[in-house]
Amino acid sequence: MKPSVWIRMDTWVRHLIPATATLFLLLLTVVPLRLPAVAEIAPMLPLMGVYYWAIYRPDLLPAWLAFTFGLLADVIAGTPLGVEALVLLLVQGTAARQRRFFLGKSFAVTWWSFGVLAAGATGLSWLLVSLLDGRAIDPAPVLVSYLMTLGCFPLLTWALARTQMALLIEA
């Protein structure tokens, strides 16, 4: 039996949640929140969103969406066009390919793997921006941003997991 229009619409809206959540994280890093300590450098929240959904629902946050969000981040942040797009794309690809390894593993393993992947992503961004700008960017703020991202990971994963439990449990 074919499900009714309402049920299909409900499913469709629920399937938009990973994309919406990641877009929300992207907006959260760019809105002028004016918190005294974190005003200058924000953690890379969209990276965490892409990583999380690539592991748990890669069908709902496919590679092209990761690319689009990366491009959007490039445009808003004023970094050379294509850098963040490539980085988010590679993070999505790597995490989605290795997802069997992550499923059912302890949180520590997920965190540790994220640390490795995020280090690669940050290093790649730094390298690409430095190459495209033609001079070495100061690595200190990049490192701070990386550490902040790592520190935010448990809280954000908890929030994303609650969102998934509440709204995407039918899968």
Partner: protein, 294 residues
């Protein structure tokens, strides 16, 4: 049997298509990077279009963010009320002394201007714009503003917060623009050290304190010297306050900007008739003049 092999083939094709799509996207990212190096004008126009497209979203997000910022600032201010009061009282006493000096100098200047028939500086036109995005990335210091070419904003125009220099306009869309802060790695501002009249270039390096490069001569620049813009290069009007020298040892001379990045909600984009690097397509609309405070 036949059906399952067909299904298997279909799955293989789908996997290949997925791989192919992924590789295409990777190639597209690299192509964009190359294009950004090769055709700057085209990429800038594309960026401006995309920023214009997301501006409504950013504007909508900036308002609740401003409320959050007010609340957190309120809590922060309450916590520091005592220290802040003491600091202000001290500063007030110091400023009262300065006020006396300033009054005397003002009347003196007026008399001198009259005697010399000095042509007064024109009052420049300006628009005020809201900061709609402050991306905290480690790779550049820029912000998006809610005014674009339809409001008369053009590339190279000076952006002020109060009287202090914040940066200048780097990219312009129809209804949004990018403010390049003086701390950005690509920002260069010709400046003068006020006390010694030494000319230099203030170069950002993505840290919160830009450094002084190309210092003319071999002057003694001391900590606490004020740095203001200079008119050399005809990109900035002379005398806009920029910052204060905070370190002047053997290494780089660094300047602490007067404008605080995390306190910028609204900024003024001022048209001194200097910075138009790109010709504007249409004449700017009528705007109010920037009046002097009475």
């Amino acid at each position: 049997m036949k059906q399952s092999s067909a299904a298997g083939r279909l799955a293989t094709v789908r996997l290949l298509a997925q791989r192919f799509a992924f590789l295409t996207l990777v190639a597209a990212a690299f192509a964009l990077m190359m294009l950004g190096k090769a055709d700057i004008v085209l990429v800038e126009r594309g960026r401006a279009l995309m920023i214009d497209a997301v501006t409504p979203l950013l504007e909508a997000a900036a308002r609740p963010a401003a409320t959050v910022a007010r609340v957190t600032n309120g809590v922060h201010e309450l916590a520091n009320l005592r220290a802040e009061n003491a600091r202000l009282r001290e500063e007030n006493a110091r400023l009262m002394r300065w006020q006396t000096v300033a009054r005397r100098l003002e009347s003196e200047t007026e008399v001198l201007h009259q005697q010399l028939n000095v042509v007064p500086d024109p009052d420049p036109a300006f628009v005020t714009a809201r900061v709609i995005a402050d991306p905290g990335t480690a790779f550049g210091h820029s912000m998006l503003l809610s005014a674009g070419s339809r409001d008369g904003v053009r590339k190279g125009q000076v952006v002020l917060s109060g009287e202090a220099l914040v940066g200048y306009i780097g990219e312009v869309g129809l209804r949004s623009s990018r403010l390049l802060l003086i701390t950005d790695i690509n920002a260069r501002v010709p400046v003068v050290v006020e006390s010694t009249r030494t000319r230099a270039v203030l170069a950002g390096d993505n840290s919160s304190r830009p450094k002084l490069n190309y210092i003319v001569g071999n002057p003694a620049i001391a900590v606490g010297d004020r740095v203001v813009t200079s008119a050399s290069g005809a990109a900035f009007p002379p005398g806009l306050p920029v910052g204060v020298v905070v370190s002047a040892g053997d290494g780089a001379i660094r300047v602490e900007p007067f404008a605080r990045r995390n306190q910028l909600d609204f900024v003024s984009i001022v048209d001194y008739g200097l910075g138009g690097i790109l010709p504007s397509d249409r004449p700017p609309p009528e705007r109010r003049r920037r009046g002097r405070e009475e």
